[in-house]
Amino acid sequence: MSLHVQQLSVSVSGAELLKNINFTCEAGQLLALCGANGAGKSTLLKTLAGERDYSGSIRLGGVELAYLDAAEQARLRAVMPQQCDLNFAFSNLEVIELGLLFCRTQQEKNKVLTKLCELFQLDELLDKNYMLCSGGQKQRVQLARVVAQIFQCGGPEGKLLLLDEASSAMDLAITQKAYRGLRKLCSLGVGIVSVVHDLNVAALYADTVALLSNGSLSHFGEPAKILTKQNVEQVFCAEVQVLCAPESGRPQIYSAF
């Protein structure tokens, strides 16, 4: 199932937050949304998640998003928010289980959870108290919850994941594990749209990169073609150097001193 966005515009109280956005994310692709602060990345993700009114068209598997109710949307896609606060002492396992609204039996739930632990190596985290975990561990748990949601209702193939800075609090190793897990999901046919702050993470793991600038899509395409010195300097208004990493052939961006 693919995500088609056509002429998408969002304005709130007269201010235009997104202007005429057009792109497609096919099933099995990881699309990284990048841009400077305030460019509209989170707004775009929230609109795709159904939180904002919009003009234009967002089609999930051919169906217009505005015609789908909360339960129908939940069967097709899962959303990971930037922050998730919890004031009650749930274990991480219980938090992950919260995503499994459509699983009827305990067996179904256990199947999903086993697959998840394989994908993201969560075994040591499961019994811990969510409130006592670090920011990075909480993000891993939220990611697991969100991925669990798309494993319901006949498996993850053709479903969509919307991630709002999934790895902002994760360390190097956990980020690597998380994105390797996401790439495995892509090979299972999941489409992923992820807001990514770290351009090098986007360069390394994404199939396509969308650069947002002041609410419009300024560049869209493969990382090697899009993440050039000229484009990055234009969008981020900062001096950078771009090298090509020898093993992966992907661009690596570092800022000038």
Partner: protein, 353 residues
Amino acid sequence: MNIKLGINHRHRQLAFALAALLTCCCFFALANGPLQINFQQLFDVVSSGFSQPQAELRMQHYVVWDIRLPRLICSLAVGAGLALAGCCMQALFRNPLADPALIGVSSGAAFGAVFVIVFSASFASSLSVASHFLLPLAAFLSGAITAMCVVAIATYRGQSNAALMLLAGVAMNAIAAAGIALLTYAADDNQLRDLSFWSMGSVAKATWPELAVAVPLIVASSVMLLRHRSALNALLLGEQVALHIGHDVKKIKRSIVVHATIIVGSAVAISGVIMFIGLVVPHLIRLICGPDHKKLLPLSMLLGASLLTLADLAARQLIAPAELPIGVLMSVVGGPFFIVLLLRQRKQLLFQS
């Protein structure tokens, strides 16, 4: 890898223990008092129902059916109902400090009930039967208005703030107290005696006609709230997140506010304002069983019913033959408990971003 979801040993043990506790409480509530009734007599009296008893059990029959059984049913329904309403409000506000009395819903409901008591004299006397419906109805309506005001004040864009919630509760309590004071001023002596019971709470005043209206309401609303057990867990992550998971959040929120307020309104109608059950009981169950509502809701109802029945027993025995008002007893116990809760949560509340 050991996946442990669902009900386990600890929950089952607690459920059995609470059920046993409840049974014992029921027995002692019926057997104890100025007229001691033993098990055999109790069994005979209860099984003979409303019909005429044997001559030697007439006294026991009267005491059980006209005094102790209504009192027991009142404390069971109010205790279970308020505990359940407390759980649901804590889920709605995403904060373990929410309690129907603290956030002003109980005194809002009391205002409605007091209004009916004071002004029912000016209604036609034919309304005396209707007053059994009128009282819970008025309590529900004014409780509902109060609940909606607190939700509206304390919630902004799907996020609710504990401080705002409690402050809104302070405001609502003040307004309701002022209203009740005005009505008290307008009341005659007979009504004054009735009114003083509202501020102190009592399960001894409930009569069978009142129970016949209030208890089915509490039971029906409890059943409706129990349907939302899984949804309440997801709601704790935030309304937006619960929506993304696929829950119909608007409908669930509306249902919680309506049914919790029906419960609180009915409870206030038959027992006056009793504070802290909705705070103490869910907290105790969470300490043992965790916050999963699938276990929390039914276990809280069991413990709430037992707790209030025990409190009523204590209220009867502590200064016998006089009786302590049960609301006072609950506040004396619940107030310090609330302080302990606050102290434990202090670090988290102070440094919440």
